[in-house]
Symmetry: D2
Subunit: 480 residues, 4 copies
């Protein structure tokens, strides 16, 4: 008797899981991995992985695509373009956000958003943003969402149209606990930032760099500590999004040491960019405006150290692109704004009116592979954990994503570890007109991306079509 034939065999690669690196073939059938072995039987199709490193496809658990703001504006990055970029960069699934508009129920907010998402070329899921935790939302809508597999809530402690106060946050945490949902948190102190913005504007300091001045590390430390303390009181597991600095990471590490269930995420921008990128002629600093803000140069290494010690265990993109042309032209930020939106004499917006966010869904993994694996900071299993496996556990996709074991979705990336590339926006697939990593040299690049058992990208060409992706109903979190 024989094994049954495979649809596809990825043959002869160096296979990296979250724990090990081995030489093995990977047998795929019906969109899933069914065997890992030496000398597997032939597949109907074969892809050679000779000389390549095979990892699970990336899972980007934090990105913003096609978000609909209450003012009618829509993020420029569509599901079709964003998912193409994801696949080209080795990411085969992502979690983006269902908005809630203040004053609206979840059901009434951003109508049609889920239908738009079906255009994705790769698998996707949602975090539900909560901006208005009315009894209706807390008691009826959230439980219903969770039943549908949207098992994580996202809350903001800052931004005018999004922030929750402490009382609201506590109620969301308590509901999440009752229904075993996970909670992710954008942690910066709203009032402190507001006070600083006012002071800077009053002083006539309006350049993009002042965005960082308005949001110093201490405002991130404060909100991180507060979010953790309130979660500790309620005994609800949480993740702190986009940790940018040692100050916030230290609070996470201390809480973990005393047994609090808290995790931390960071992003490539906090590992590679700095205040330098917020400066430059022709308003160029606006391209690097994101929140939390970029820090001083040395901070990158301090954040790396918190990856190495395990405090930060996921690297997401926080892809949230606004084209530079858009940013330059008119104030407004698709919901991510603070304070009144002022224009400067030359028509560019003051720092507080520049839309917040950088595009990165495509560059996330090449930058992480290059800065991490190729530069010797982390080994391949650590890369797998940071890029997919830990997020899969935390967000209820364990066994399905972030894994190359039998039963997992056949999402794989074949990396050429020796490929040397320079990142150029002209070669990226996203809809944004720039990348903050323009000219950034990387070593190691995805050669082939396989999603759901099919070759989705090869030779730089995105083969997967809009609609190929599936909505991922997720299970409860498991602790990473």
């Amino acid at each position: 008797m024989a094994d049954r034939a495979y649809d596809l065999v990825v043959r002869g690669g160096t296979v990296a899981t979250a724990a090990e690196v081995v030489e093995a073939d990977i047998g795929i059938l019906g969109g899933r991995i069914v065997a890992l072995g030496r000398n597997l039987a032939a597949g109907r199709e074969e892809v050679s992985a000779k000389g390549l490193v095979v990892t699970p496809g990336g899972l980007d658990p934090h990105c913003h695509l096609e978000e609909l703001a209450q003012d009618g504006s829509v993020h420029e990055e569509s599901f079709a373009s964003g998912s193409a970029a994801a696949l080209a960069g080795g990411t085969t699934s992502f979690i983006c956000f269902l908005p809630q508009w203040k004053g609206h129920s979840l059901a009434d907010s951003a109508p049609g958003y889920e239908a738009r998402a079906q255009k994705s070329r790769c698998d996707y899921s949602f975090h539900q943003i909560i901006t208005d935790p009315t009894p209706e939302v807390l008691e009826r809508e959230i439980p219903a969402l969770i039943a549908r597999g949207v098992r994580s809530l996202k809350v903001f402690l800052t931004y005018d149209p999004l922030r929750l106060d402490d009382a609201q946050l506590i109620r969301v945490l308590a509901v999440a606990r009752r229904h075993r949902a996970f909670v992710t948190i954008h942690a910066e102190n709203y009032d402190a930032i507001g006070w600083r913005i006012d002071a800077l504007l009053k002083a006539g300091l309006t350049d993009p760099l002042q965005h960082a001045w308005a949001r110093p590390p201490v405002v991130e430390r404060e909100a991180t500590h507060r979010a953790i303390a309130l979660a500790e009181m309620v005994d609800q597991p949480v993740q702190i999004f986009h940790v940018s600095c040692e100050e916030a990471a230290e609070e996470i590490a201390r809480a973990r040491a005393r047994g609090v269930k808290v995790w931390g995420e960071t992003c490539p921008q906090y590992l590679t960019l700095s205040h330098d990128d917020l400066q430059g002629p022709d308003f160029a600093g606006a391209k690097a405006v994101c929140s939390p803000a970029l820090r001083e140069k040395g901070e990158n290494e301090r954040v790396w150290r918190r990856i190495l010690d395990g405090t930060l265990d996921i690297v997401s993109s926080d892809h949230c692109g606004f084209s530079f042309a858009t940013a330059k032209r008119a104030p407004g930020s698709g919901g991510y704004g603070m304070g009144d939106a002022n224009l400067r004499p030359d028509g560019t917006p003051a720092f507080n009116a520049i839309p917040n966010g950088v595009p990165g869904i495509e560059t996330r993994l090449p930058v992480l592979f290059s800065e991490g694996v190729s530069k010797g900071r982390i080994d391949l299993p650590h890369f797998v954990r940071l890029s997919s496996a830990n997020a899969a556990k935390l967000f209820g996709l364990e066994g399905r994503k972030g894994s190359l074991m039998p039963g997992a979705d056949a999402d794989l990336v074949l990396w050429d570890p020796d490929a040397e590339r320079t990142i150029r926006n002209s070669e990226l697939h996203h809809a944004i007109d720039y990348t903050p990593w323009e000219g950034f040299a990387v070593k190691g690049f995805p050669s082939v991306t396989i999603a759901a058992g099919r070759v989705a990208v090869q030779g730089g060409e995105v083969l997967a079509q809009p609609g190929a992706g599936r909505f991922l109903a997720r299970g409860p979190y498991a602790m990473a």
Copy 2:
């Protein structure tokens, strides 16, 4: 030629300063200490300190006397009674609070309060409570106050009628910095307490012990960290009032280690009382309801350790007495309340409607001397620092209070270090009908208290009269 004669010589005592213990006579003239020496010339009056320990008179930098709430209620402890109690317990000066009523200017709040204070038998000063930091208050009233020598502001992060939100706190800190005032902070998270109160009441848990359940250490840790972070952002020195637990103390210690200018105070109740005192028949637990709440038994020693390592450098009374008869009868708390005030079937108030605060202005130093010095935890100079000298520095009375050096106000206490006493409310001088230390045994007790160069208490009899005290205009803080 001879020194000029002294009004009073305290002769032959063991003199303890903030740094040293020596045998010396103390020469007093015109209400001030003018000499410290061996074999001083005779004074017009002499007090023998043979076998006694002479310390500077206590400075209690945190007590509530005769406060006028917006609802017309007045604290039972009057300036006359409270200052008698202070002197009897070895405290020769205190700082209490000028209220601000929400919706009122400072000038309009608690009219006549300063005039009432003139009834004090010993020297006094004020912190100004800020509950409503309007531009008028911030820009005009606070600077005027400071010019009058009221150089410290007190803010609350909890209590319904008193709390400031973060934006208000930041504005107060910024104004304090501009005018070099000090800021003291009651640090507990308002929303977390509110959520817990609701949950407990809903569950029908209404006993005095639940007061502690409603305010667990994590709510104190959180607010302490937040207050410090915002002060750090503004670069304004602050003191955290009444630290009750390691959780809050740890936040102060960590901030100090990174250079933040923050100090911590604790009180005898957090060194000696615990949950045990919140229980008992006939509503007796109500006698120990204060905020922050008493902690579990072992916490006392952890707080002591934070005194020993210097994190907590002042022991105040937070005297805030409400008679048990009052507390039992009717909800209400003279401004220190949270949530709706519910009566229970037997007519006693639910835990959240019990007035907050314990009386302690008279017992503060005997308890501290006994538990600290007599039990060998601290030496005499440390006692002096905790009981007066550090507060004198922090609150702008350096050289005048907390000192036995030439030039200091002649405020002294002659301690009998071997006196063994049992605290009985019947022997106390305050206006409150109980003490939480009823039956508490102490070793070491004030034998004579001298204030402004006159014997104010001798043989348990208070000789100083109402009106003997003077308002202390204070200078800027010096760092302890």
Copy 3:
């Protein structure tokens, strides 16, 4: 075309690797795992793992078998008996010790020892103990050993016949660094223990419990810190053996935080036993005499916490058995002794003359599985890391041991996670006449052990024969 047939298929189990838990069959060919998959083709032989958990076979990186002391004495546990016990307890390979006798070259020490080891029923390797680092040893013998695959050195900072002083330790570390060997360290301060032993004996305190008094946590903390500091100076990776307490673990954690390459191991005795076990009638405490000594009860949980935070990442047995009959009868400890060996009036040895060590090669994994996995402290992947995978990395067996991936040696354990057993020495396979876990209840027990692709234990019967094991030449360490 079909996959080629398997010698053996382990079918239908819940497979736990160092990172994941999946349902999969395991295909074995030529003593190695060659496939992991769903519905693998039939093997020539099949073992059902339905309802069972399949883990990599245990790797016990620290055990003492049949050691030959310089005085001619031999450890009672033979390779044949010890390896039977290992297999019965789910351990399929181990690393024991090549002795060096002081005054002898490595070659001249313990002649015939390696030949004896060939009697092992499962795979084995050696650490080389260095007690006399002469230039000959350092410059010629160690490099030769390393070339043969003995890539780790073991040094003792205590025990009369074994200890190195700092100068010797530094030379060993430097040689290890030059040749990329790993160094493991028994860390206790020799002089401090000696001083304490003298004082206790002088005071007539000779019971087994005094063994613990003679070696308080501070002597372990001190030597741990010193070993780490010297390794840091030389930049040589080291592992601290058998960490028994928070004091030592804290030093490891601190050093790791500053980037020092140091790892920590602990043992089941430090997770479950305590001072209680050092007491009892009829000299029973002697059964629990090991070094470092057992600690006070609460310490077990502190050590667990250091497993959870990653500071301690290997749980070995430190199996070092001396029968109770032997221990009772005559002083002497096969080399693990301190001070003069005194008999007490009743003929039993004083605490310092009781042989050091407890038997545990068979109970290690059942105790760890039960206390760890079944009690919910750790998940299955963590169990795999602690019991085999981390040791495989650190000791140069990565990819071969501690893994279920294609290419790994086919060493597997099928655990019945629901089996409830009480440990009885009468049912164990080791040669020692007692176990310190007599009567200890465990949940989860090995049902089948497979070694090198063959069923080695089934139904409690050890099928593997003496001689079945192979010497494992090891590669350089990889960091866990």
Copy 4:
């Protein structure tokens, strides 16, 4: 009746004690301070302190004067010259060392040394160095010494002729505990330094800078931790001498936090000098060779931070001068040596044969005042604590030295806080031909030094004569 007249009144100064700064006159009678007051009666003599700061005279608890090595060599600095330098620099008493020669009893070592000390111009005391703790020394000589008021022992963990091993150290600690003596420790790891010296010499690296390479911070950290751990085991208070770096200071801070009775001292060289001073043409780096070695530049501020947080509470000179002419000419170090003494081709000694130590008894306080008080790092009371008061407590001179209170020895310094001076060896009073602070600018300088009630230095002229100093029999330590 009148106060009796004073021998001397220091009038009108700003008087700084360990805790306070006040305006006061100081009345002196019979060599002691007898009064502190406003408008004291006239003295037979008067010194105006108008515009000056009056502090207690410095107590330098760590300096080497006229030490007799076993090879017959004698330190160049005599008691007469060293004490003149001390007084000129504001130090009015010091503690130097009674040597023990290995193989000799205390009585037989350095004969005549105590008699030589009588030439001191200011008060002095001794620490007894223990290099050979025989039973005779431990059981008879040390108790006898303590009875004579030599209540502190000094041990070295490094230097060939001086070091104790751990067993010896423990015995010394135990004896000290029994007789309530204090123990001070030179903490560096002997074997690690020896190994490094060999390696550097083998590599032909022999310059003065290599002295620092041979003794990196980790060797100081290690020995500090070890000394503390052994003291903790014995429960004996100790002081770590001359802490040069954060690594060692951190170990002290951690031990204090867990309640260990350990104190730390540092010296001006570790606050102001660095590797830079170990380099320079013409062998100039030899002038800065001391142990522990100078560190990299940034370390100065880290040591300052440990002064500010209280970990380091004494600043001594560790004056141990060897003239540059001597150092240049011939190897040898009066007992402070390591390894064989090699000459280099140009006749200068290799780094390990340069005598260890820098002269600093005269510059200690001006440098500390200037860098500390004048630069705003510390206030005047902190200066007093660091320069005299803390040492007085720790070394059993409380109430007598480091104090300006009645009863204290009349040792005072009148500082001109505005005096700006440049340190020039030509203006110093010591016997050494250089100072490492040549050209160092200071602000604040002693204007008048008074010792035992007499003007000892005025206008830079040393008036006190050899023999004016008295031996100080000391009491038991009090904790600082």
